[in-house]
């Protein structure tokens, strides 16, 4: 890890909120199809999460990519752990792994979804 001050802020966000989505736009108004897709999947599972708009903060937009060594946004974090971007979340949702992971981590989900 570097001494990038943005990393500290990211760490704090993912430590204090169980489910955090770094995204383009907001959960209500996503500004990118990939971000919108992940928001939709989380909503479908009834997961409460915090959406953080990277478009409103260029330092965060670049910093989050370095933080996870992951070149794209959205990025989903559950209980402080990076879970994946849009492709991985979609794949995990299809296989049922996403619900499993959320339940294992103690995040309430709508199991009927």
């Amino acid at each position: 890890m570097s001494d990038n001050p943005v990393f500290e802020r990211i760490q704090q966000e993912i430590d204090t909120t169980p489910v955090v989505l770094f995204m383009k736009g907001t959960p209500v108004f996503p500004q990118c199809g990939f971000s919108a897709a992940v928001v939709q999947l989380l909503n479908h599972l009834g997961v409460s999460f915090k959406g953080i708009d990277v478009l409103s903060d260029p330092g965060l937009r670049q910093g989050i990519k370095e933080f996870a060594s992951w070149p794209t946004i959205p990025q989903l974090y559950v209980k402080g752990e990076f879970v994946g971007g849009c492709d991985i979340i979609r794949e995990m949702s299809e296989t049922g792994e996403l619900i499993e992971l959320l339940q294992t981590k103690g995040v309430p989900v709508d199991a009927a979804a």
Binding site: F34, K65, S69, W70, P71, T72, I73, F82, V83, G84, G85, C86, D87, I88, E91, M92
Partner: protein, 77 residues
């Protein structure tokens, strides 16, 4: 600046020589691709680590010149 599918495939194969790579141009616009990559190098790695290997092969182009690459990885038997 878009990338053509041949260069994407070439970069992935340079980093993962055993890989079988299929690239689909999703919208026919040279800017939205899907890549299916199968390699023995993915063995024992999490999905995140598998994708990171492919992103590393693309040397920073992912998220820059390469706007959209839907990625699916599989372990070669």
């Amino acid at each position: 600046m878009a990338m053509d599918p041949q260069s994407i495939e070439k970069m992935i194969k340079e980093a993962l020589p055993d890989a079988s790579v299929r690239i689909d141009d999703l919208r026919g616009d040279g800017d939205h691709y899907a890549a299916y990559v199968t390699s023995a190098a993915f063995k024992g790695l999490s999905r995140i680590q598998q994708h990171q290997l492919v992103y590393r092969a693309l040397q920073g182009r992912m998220g820059n010149e390469l706007h959209a690459l839907a990625l699916q990885t599989a372990i070669a038997e």
